[in-house]
Symmetry: C2
Subunit: 344 residues, 2 copies
Amino acid sequence: MPVGTQGTVKGVSPDELEQLGAQVILGNTYHLHVRPGEKLIARQGGLHQFIGWHRPILTDSGGFQVFSLAKLRKITEEGVHFQNHLDGTPTLIGPERSMEIQRDLDSDIVMAFDECPAHPCTHEDAERSLNLTLRWAARCKAWWNQEKEENRPLLFGIVQGSTYPDLRERSANSLVELGFDGYAIGGVSVGESEAEMMQAVECAETLLPSDRARYAMGLGTPPQMIEMIARGIDMFDCVLPTRIARNGTAFTRRGTLSLKNACFAEDPKPLEEDCECYACRNFSRAYVRHLIKANEILGLRLVTIHNLHFYLNLLRLTRVAILDGRFAKFRSDFMSNYRPHDIE
Amino acid sequence: MPVGTQGTVKGVSPDELEQLGAQVILGNTYHLHVRPGEKLIARQGGLHQFIGWHRPILTDSGGFQVFSLAKLRKITEEGVHFQNHLDGTPTLIGPERSMEIQRDLDSDIVMAFDECPAHPCTHEDAERSLNLTLRWAARCKAWWNQEKEENRPLLFGIVQGSTYPDLRERSANSLVELGFDGYAIGGVSVGESEAEMMQAVECAETLLPSDRARYAMGLGTPPQMIEMIARGIDMFDCVLPTRIARNGTAFTRRGTLSLKNACFAEDPKPLEEDCECYACRNFSRAYVRHLIKANEILGLRLVTIHNLHFYLNLLRLTRVAILDGRFAKFRSDFMSNYRPHDIE
């Protein structure tokens, strides 16, 4: 899922996203609540109508941004009291309020409101936080149960538990007992090692029902996604393809290219050979590098389109490999070709 | 002609420009010479190939930017000695060098190298400058005559003469005597009054052959274009539609809208009703305002697309009105509907 934080996937238009084959985009509840506000969006006909995107939208709960962006937080049983990062307005967001905001946004997949503890975190703090998150998850489910059936979006629970396998397992089991339409692994990619991240996914994943979508939140690099898929993960959201595009970095099967490097100044090749995206069909590395160096908008647009195509296409190829029963070879080929650092 | 200063019309892709119906775009010789350099562009197959634009390109002579952007200028008979604004490299551009750069860029319409005197300017200074510009025009024509016929682009001369009718007339007559493929009016919109600008155009225009294109450089607002067309002008280039789009200002038949105004926060209407551009067919003023306020790239892209459509469509409608013999009514209707300031 490309990430559309403020009601747009940075750098691309909805028709470009459709042409790229994006199936679902993510909207950030916290950002949209702060500006322009979910009530304004509701009066404009909901987020789909407002932003011109007619396929599904998943909204996060706002929890992660409340903890990472807002000021003067105070956590109580009721929810989180904070001042928003734009104008400091004091606000309370708890489970029911998060659900209401996501409903006003006309989200198709809403996420339960959770607390995302910082990393590192003691077992005691992680357990206290998890218990609160589980009580909040029950309140989100109760809110959802009271809604009329025809108004209900899908509701996903979020597994927490920091780096502690016992807590991750208890979290997964408790959520499955409550019953959700899908399950996310939260609190990953928050500063822990990649080994800890994989362990957090592995602990929970085996306990989650295989007929429900499993979603690793805020991930990841191309190799991380392939490894997560090998562990049963179905869904991802990630700002990487759009964020690093704005720095002039392009993904390829062999690793990333930093277009600012002088070696591309006269390179007539496309960002990636054999790539079928609009950028690669029409423009050279030399031109894209010139645009990036000259701070031209078209430069980051072209790299954004290429990177989103790379991510979406990688997952399409992975799905086909799984259906054809050749995922193991696909995985090992991909992992052996991909370099973790800039390749040129 | 949309303006593509650094090898891209700011905010839009070549396929969007084609869909908008742009026939010619302008490239800035000075900017492209400084970065990435005309030799690099030539090695990449020329500007059309480099930037993916397969319709005609007009390049300016570089003169105007040498005078407005470069540092430590010294004007001699040979040309202009300056240090470029990016890294201060000392450079000489004179008539032959300007022609060579424009040829390396693979331009379809090249402009003679001229001096554009500052405004205001005494009659004595304007005359001295004009005499130099006319000697330079003769050198450009001589350079062009020596080129093989199959390599020759179209060559346009530039009328100068500041605000002095006698100089404007002498300039036009001298250029026609030299003989060019088209004629531009330069040194307008450089700080003089609109009345002086119209007079400068009127003085020259009647002396220029009506079977050659007449081009008013660096203009203008929609009413200025309509008034210039009434005086016989055929071609324009202008950064206004793309530049003010980046500030969130949209053109309409009734005047400009500043999307930052609070009155648009919940306005479900398109930027302009009945407009057929991509932005107006798909998005509301409320959404575009949100994007502009949130500094999202899509906001300036949508306003840029709308403004380019507005300009290109206005000239299409004008052409049809002329062919149908109803330009006088078209002109008076347009002028009475268009407000010179923000309308909301």
